[in-house]
């Protein structure tokens, strides 16, 4: 490829621009976890992990890890001043009660209606939904972080999801290695291109309805 598709850190860097001052944010496993590294220093944000912590800090230094302090990805973490621990029912109370402002998670497929599939490939992969179904059913503001196509080169932005759903009509925005896309009533609306990536490339990588209106600027990352 000659075009500058983003790598995982690039996607995370772009998503970090969506994180506003005063936001409580839940980050899923994978690319979403990387977002924390790129949030501006001059805004205040707190990260929630559904296993029961608010105010997560960076990973611990070697020797300072604590088996009793992990994130939802089971990684050892630290906490920042002002952090708190709580039980799982309270944690999902925060999520279901829409106290968490932004949820960023990965996906295997997203449909142009905002449906998302990310927990099961029948007969192949059955790891479970973890907290994802609660998060997508409850959050007002959901951003999906993913590659635009799967390993077989097939589009992950579809007319309709083919895999078992995680939630219906919930995704608002998608940031991929190729583009920033808004999910609208009419379909996927292209907002931004990755640097150097052509609209044609995005079009051919998008199976669902892609709406292109006006000039599509490159991401500013």
């Amino acid at each position: 490829m000659t075009e500058n598709m983003l790598d995982k850190n690039g996607i995370a860097r772009r998503i970090a621009q969506e994180v506003k001052d005063g936001y409580y944010v839940n980050l899923g496993i994978g690319i979403p976890t990387l977002v924390a590294n790129f949030v501006r220093d001059d805004i205040e944000v707190e990260f929630q992990s559904e296993n029961g912590v608010l105010g997560m800090g960076p990973f611990p230094f070697e020797g300072e890890e604590d088996a009793d302090v992990i994130n939802a990805g089971k990684q050892t973490i630290t906490t920042l001043p002002g952090a708190s621990f709580f039980d799982s029912a309270t944690s999902f109370g925060m999520i279901r009660g829409q106290h968490v402002d932004l949820t960023i998670l990965g996906a295997m497929e997203v449909s142009q209606d905002g449906d998302i599939a990310n927990w099961k490939i029948p007969g192949k992969m059955v790891k479970g939904m973890g907290g994802a179904m609660d998060l997508v059913a409850s959050a007002e503001n959901i951003i999906v972080a993913m590659m635009h196509t799967n390993r077989a080169g097939e589009s992950k932005l579809l007319k309709e999801c083919t895999l078992p759903l995680t939630g219906v009509g919930c995704v608002k925005k998608i940031v991929t290695n190729l583009a920033v896309i808004e999910v609208t009533a009419k379909g996927f609306k292209l907002l931004e291109r990755a640097p150097g990536v052509s609209i044609e490339t995005i079009k051919s990588a998008t199976e669902g309805e892609l709406i292109i209106e006006g000039e599509i600027l490159e991401m500013n990352i």
Binding site: F59, I70, S91, K127, G128, S138
Partner: protein
């Protein structure tokens, strides 16, 4: 003060038998009742239904019960780090019910607090809601989910006293408090059993009324699943 302290692990697990339904606290390998699990392996009772967010790893946590084929059914939200689990599930030896994590937590809390069922938006429109009652409130759809019914809840706390009062540490808290009192018998193991009266009544996470038996665990491995560190500058 009503005394909940038992003499040893045998007394703590008195009454467990084949085909029962158990709840296990813990998230991943954090905050799991290591001593109760070890004893269940020793007792080798079979046909168990296990309600637990995760299924351990191959050689630790609930993976130990799976190894011995003691488990008939798992009710979990995420089971992705266990090859033996996957083998048993795909071969049909193991019955698996995957449910959203928040639903799992709240079905425990419902059992603890005397609610027969709850309405949650999680899983609406997905296969999780198939065959379940759904309902609209204020323009949003919810799924009716029922309180769990379990025989024993196995809980791991950090500190506790003979009155059954509990304090948890860090994210090892997770489902543990929500499962206390959610089964017919709640068995708690603690890292440290402290004298009654030493815990601040304001700072007790779970009052002893939700606990039937308590003991200090002999050893805790507290294995870390994903050791993740950063480099010193």
């Amino acid at each position: 003060m009503i005394n909940k302290k038992v003499a040893n692990i045998s007394e703590a697990l008195k009454g467990v038998s084949d085909n029962m339904t158990f709840m296990f606290g813990g998230f991943g390998l954090s905050g799991i009742p290591e001593n109760a699990i070890a004893q269940l392996v020793k007792l080798n009772i079979k046909g168990l239904t296990c309600i637990s967010n995760n299924a351990g790893v191959d050689d630790f946590g609930l993976g130990l019960l799976l190894q011995q084929k003691q488990v008939k059914k798992m009710i979990s939200s995420y089971v992705g780090e266990n090859d033996e689990f996957e083998r048993q599930m795909l071969s049909g030896e193991l019955d698996v019910e995957l449910i959203p994590q928040g639903t799992l937590a709240e079905r425990c809390r419902a059992a603890q607090s005397g609610f027969p069922a709850i309405y949650t938006p999680a899983g609406y429109g997905t296969e999780v809601a198939e065959g379940k009652e759904t309902r609209e409130f204020d323009g949003k759809m919810y799924v009716l989910e029922h309180a769990f019914k379990a025989d024993f809840a196995f809980i791991k706390a950090w500190k506790g006293d003979a009155a059954g009062n509990l304090i948890f540490k860090g994210t090892a808290r997770n489902f543990n408090p929500n499962m206390c009192g959610a089964a017919k018998v709640t068995v708690v193991e603690v890292e440290e059993l402290v004298p009654v009266g030493t815990l601040d009544p304001n700072q007790i996470h779970i009052p002893g009324i939700f606990v039937q038996r308590i003991f200090q665990g002999e050893t805790y491995e507290k294995r870390i699943e994903q050791l993740t560190i950063r480099q010193r500058a």
